[in-house]
Each structure stands twice: as C-alpha cells, then as structure tokens.
Assembly symmetry: D2
Homo-oligomer: 212 residues x 4
C-alpha cells in the first residue's frame, strides 16, 4: 500500500454526485454555489496550506506551525465533511434498511433520534457548524455530534450522515429559517448511502479493533 | 450486532496498560494523576452529560442543546484520545516495522516526520491540546494534526499515535519545559502498538471504502 | 451608580439606527433579516441563558456551568457587536476626521490600514466571525482583530469599527462573494460615528489608566 | 495623543508587582515559572507575530492572514490578562470597599457572586481558560465570564478581577486539585486593586457612553 505524500498539494474536488438542479426544495443556485465556492474553496485552500507546511523547518517559530496546523485541519475536515454531505443527498428521504433498527436500538426509536438530530441542528442556527451521525470505531456506537466549525468532530469515527449547518448551506434559499432548511435536508436524504456507510463502518470497526 | 444505547451513562475508565511507575522520565505521581483525574474525570463527566442529554425534548431551548453537545464532544473525545495516549506509552521508543516505511513514503523520511510532529507539539506548549498522527480512512493518508482542545480531530480518521499536550501531561514533572516532556514521550513510545494500529487502520480503510 | 442585576433576563433589542431600505447595495430584506433574526435572536437567547444561570447552585455539575457560560458569552457578545455594527452603518463611506490621522500613525497610512482590514475580512469568507478595529484601553493602541465566532474579542478594548463576517451578513445579497460585501460595507460606513467612538475611547482610556 | 505603531514588535514584559515568594500558598517556583515562561512567552510570541503581520500584503493568501490574526489575538490577550491577573494578586484576600456593594446589587450578595465565580472556575478545571469579573462599558453591568482559551473575553469591557485557570497556574503546586488553587487565589486577592479598577471602570464607562 502506498501512502499519499504529506504535502503534495494536489487535492481535486469531486463532482456533485447528483444533478445540481435535481433536489427538492434546495435550489440549483444554492447547491452550485455551495459546491463550487465553499467545498471548492476548501480544497483550493488545503492545497495552499500544504504548500506552506512543506516549508516548515526547525527554525520556524512554533506559533506559525500552530496557526498553519489549525488552518490545515479546518480545510481538510471541510473537504471530507462536504464530500460526505453531498454524498448523502440526492435521495427521496425515505428511511429504511439496517440504519432503522440500529437507530431504534440506540435512541429507543428512529423518530426519537430524528428529533434529537433536528434539535441539535437548530442549536447551530444563525451560526456555523455541522451535525453528524457518527459511528465510533472503538465502541460500535452511533453518536450524534455537533460542531461550531470544521475542526470539531468525533474522534476515531466515520460519518454515517452529515448535515451542513453553515449559513452558506441555506441562507440563499431560506434566509434565517434554519428549520425549513432542515426539513428540506431530510426530504432529500439518500438513506441507501447511509445504509451503505453503516455496513462499511461495521466492518471497519471490526478491523480496527482486531489484534493483528 | 447490537448498538450501545445513546445515553446509558455507563462508561467506565480503562486501567493503565502499564505500571504507573514504570516509565522512563515520567513520574508515577504524574501518570497516576493524569489517569485518575484527567482521564477519569472525563469519563465521569461524560456519564454526567449523557444523563442530561437523556432529558432533552422538543421544548428544550436549542442553546441548551448546543451547550450540552459541545460538552459531550469534549468529554467523549477526551476519553477516546486518553485511551489511545496511554495505549501507545510503555515501550522503549525504538521505531521499527511497517510504520517506518509509511512515514518515509509520506514525509520523505521518518526523521523528517518526527521533526514535524515535535514542532507541532511545541506550537501547543503552555496551552492545551493534542498532537495526533492520524490515518485518514477515505484516502489512506497519514496526517499529523493538532488541536487546541479535545473537540478538534481529523474527520473520518483513526489515531495511530497520540501525544497529549495539555499541561496536566507534563507540568508536574517538567514545569513549563514542554520540549523536555516531548523527549520523554518519545523515549517511552510503544511502536509495536503503533504498528498494530497501522495494520488495523489499513484494513479498516479498505472496509470503509468498499461498496457493500 | 446602580449596577444592573446579573440575571434579570430583560434585554431588549435596539431599533435599527437607519431606515432598513436606505443602504447602498445592501438590501432591505438582508438588513431586516439580520436585525430581526440574528441580532434579535441573540438578545432573546441571552435572556434565556440568564434564566438558566439564575438557577445554578453549589450542586450544579461544573460542566453545566461551563456550557452555559460559553453560551452566555456567545449571545452577550453577539448583542454588543451587532449594536456597534449597525451603529457604524448608514453613512456615506467618506473617511475624515481624527480617525484618519490615528490610522496613519498606526499603519503608515489609512489606505494601508484599510488593505489590512479587508484582507482580514477575506480570511473569514465562507465561514463566520467579526473583524473589529479595537481601541486597547491599557495602551491607547488601535488594533485590528478578527474572530471566528462571537466569543473572541480583544481584551480590555472598545470597538471603534465593527464588520460582521458571518454569512448571514451577506449571503442573501452576494452569495459567496464576500469581497463584494466588504466593498458594500465600506461604502456605507458612517465615519462620523467612528470618530465619535474614537474620542470617547481616548477619554475612557485616560479614565481607565488613572489611579483613583 | 500618539497612537502606538501597529507592528512595532517592541512589547516588553512588566515585572511582577509583588515579591515572587510572598504569596500565601502559591509557591515562588510556580509564580516565577508562570511569570517568566507563560506571561513572558506570550509577550515574546506577540512580538514574533507582529513581525510576520508587518509582511502581509495584497498577495498573501487570506488563510495565512486568518491564521496569524488568531495567533495575534491569542498572545495579545494573554499578555493583557496576565498583567491584570498578577496585578490583582499580592493582597490579603479581605473584601471591602465599593466592590462589595456593587456585587451585592448585581448578585444579591457578594457571597453569592463568589459562589458563582468559583463554580465557573471549577467548570474549567483540568483544561485551560480564564474566569473574569468584567465591567461592561456600554451598560455599566458587572458580568462573570469564562473562556476556554486566551481569545475569548467579554466585548467592550474592562477586567476588574482576573483568575487564570490554565493548568500552568496551579499544576506545580496542586496537581489536579483546581479547587484548592481557587482557595489560594482568593486568599491572595488584592481587593484594593479591584476597587481601584472599579472606580476607573465607572469613569471610563461614562466617557465611553458620552456623546462628543
């Protein structure tokens, strides 16, 4: 297995996995701007930061290292989370499959999980952040987590379902009405993809926990 | 597969995986305090937060949800990162095995990686945070990331090597001399464990990326 | 002098100091939404948080206190910064008066300051935060500072000029084109108010530094 | 009035305002290390950051500006807050004077304020941050605020009383026993200085709010 070079600065954005104008209640203009400017901008900035990181040496003041590392984490996570966000849109919002039973085991019912997840999103309304249904690889637990910026995520986890709560994800279409955006987000969720991620996560968890 | 209940509040601390007084240059008093007070405290607080989260309902003000979610992420990540931190200590600091070649592929040489990693740690000296050599499951890339608090980690990654840079990890033994702590940390690294994690991470990455 | 009670929860929003539709290149719809939803929301949330803070007692888990304090700081600062933001809009963007010479003393020229200030704003584009020209009361220095959320400001300072870089300040009108928003912001700056604040800040600094 | 140049990089640390070994229950070793390494380090780093900021120009990538601005705010606030922290130590901990009645008006009783303030400090135990009794210049209100790092403070306020909760403020003497540090902090508080700041703040507030 070959490991990608640390500071190659050659990240390229993935195309949208659905037609930009095909979502129900989220406009083409919003989706195109989000994908090109915010996701695309993160990818471009990550390349820029990697070029600067490649120049670090023993004489670099530690505060420069700390500042660049924070920027690197910001853009790298923004890239990853946006990819999983767009990846779980483009569906019909109908929940079924394995995720249904795992949500029920974890939260009592999948409706109860959804209520928690929506409330968590509302808590970020008017600001910035992500709400993520993550799968903890050490424990096999599903956990909803929330972050105020790109850097904050659940340690040692993979994202099963990702909702962008930055204002660029909804202001153009909904103004400040974050609750209406959350409705539209749920209406376009691609649960097949969430189920696919769940199965991959369960296998990844087994692999991660196994002794060699 | 049964998923752990979301708000069971039954987390228990893991014992230290080595004798508290057995490290070279990190005192028993420091290690015991770190394990009991900081790691143990995070576990106790996580249970406390889960009890509060279990009480959320549609009438809870969103700002309460946001505040609790931030605390939950703080303690959950602190628990996870501390477990991997203690888990990669107790060795003789001699690097060998698969990690050596992957670090070379990624950073030119493993010595160059180590310089980067130490610099990143120095950038957090006198404050708080973690430095983590993470394995990105989407890309198979090794990446050094740095955080100023428990909430900030690399998305969709597992930690191969974790260094605590909170002052509770070194002040008792080294005062403000963070560089001397970093030396001691490296002298006690258990590279066998890092290699074991690397192999598990490579298999987990394959599983995560596979279609079902 | 009577000090306001700590948890009275009776904050009320100030009206806009100009007609919502009177700005040049910033739409009435944007300004009304910003004022009612984001500023107004912060004031309502601050009242909500104060009610919760009033219930704290010795048995409250410290993590609840920390979570609420973070929310309190967020909404209190959002209130204060929004008031000074709207307060420095509604002008014709023509810079003159005392601020001109103080900016020149500090940055070489006021044009050089403006370039720095705009660059700092661009650094927050696509995210959230504030750019503030602050007056340090201990030193009498003007300093441009930047924050990624409401909680981060220059210690012991007053804001002379405040620019909101949250996406709710521009997405509706400009989409992701943050640079065009910054142009519009500067075109509507009310430099009379900035000059008034400068003079008040200079007197306040003298008072703060004096022995009794 | 001459304004200090923005990027002069000529900040110098203030000496301790009391003999390092004269505090009751806070060791000379702790105080000297705190003053030389943490406060002194912040001053040195602030100078370093100002030198980098002086080099910014229109071609600097905005992410570099954002990273440096965050570091600047960190070190500038650390400098300011440490100066007021050391400035309010060296006393006998006996509260009297004007602050007593203002705390009573605000919190019902000064004992109730103290309980709140201590609880807020405990909420930061094991991590990093500051607890500050601030005076809001816009409103004349006293407010206790808490921050997890150097950047977070109450907007448009001056600090009447500052407690450092970074672990470097207590680990050497108390290990993880943050509550015992808070006791020692209160035992050494110099309330004369707090009263002096209160009077200056009241005059500064009047000046700040006055029309020109």
């Amino acid at each position: 297995m070959t490991a990608p070079t640390a500071f190659a600065a050659n990240h390229a954005p993935l195309p949208l996995p659905f037609a930009a104008g095909s979502l129900n209640g989220l406009s083409e203009r919003l989706i195109v701007s989000h994908h090109e400017n915010n996701y695309g901008g993160a990818v471009r900035n990550l390349n820029g930061v990697e070029k600067e990181l490649a120049r670090l040496n023993k004489d670099t003041p530690p505060f420069m290292v700390a500042g660049l590392r924070e920027r690197e984490l910001t853009f790298r996570n923004s890239k990853t989370l946006h990819e999983h966000y767009f990846g779980n849109l483009g569906g019909d919002g109908k929940r079924s499959g394995g995720i249904e039973s795992v949500l029920s085991q974890t939260y009592g019912s999948s409706a109860s999980w959804e209520e928690h997840f929506r409330l968590t999103g509302l808590g970020l309304g008017g600001g910035s952040g992500w709400v993520i249904l993550g799968y903890e690889l050490d424990t096999g637990a599903l956990r909803t987590c929330s972050s105020g910026n790109h850097t904050q995520v659940l340690a040692a986890s993979v994202p099963l379902l990702v909702m962008d709560m930055y204002e660029h994800a909804y202001q153009m279409d909904f103004g400040a009405a974050a609750a209406r955006y959350i409705d539209a987000f749920f209406a376009n969720l691609k649960w097949d993809e969430v189920n696919r991620r769940l199965q991959s996560a369960q296998r990844a968890s087994k692999a991660w926990k196994s002794a060699t």
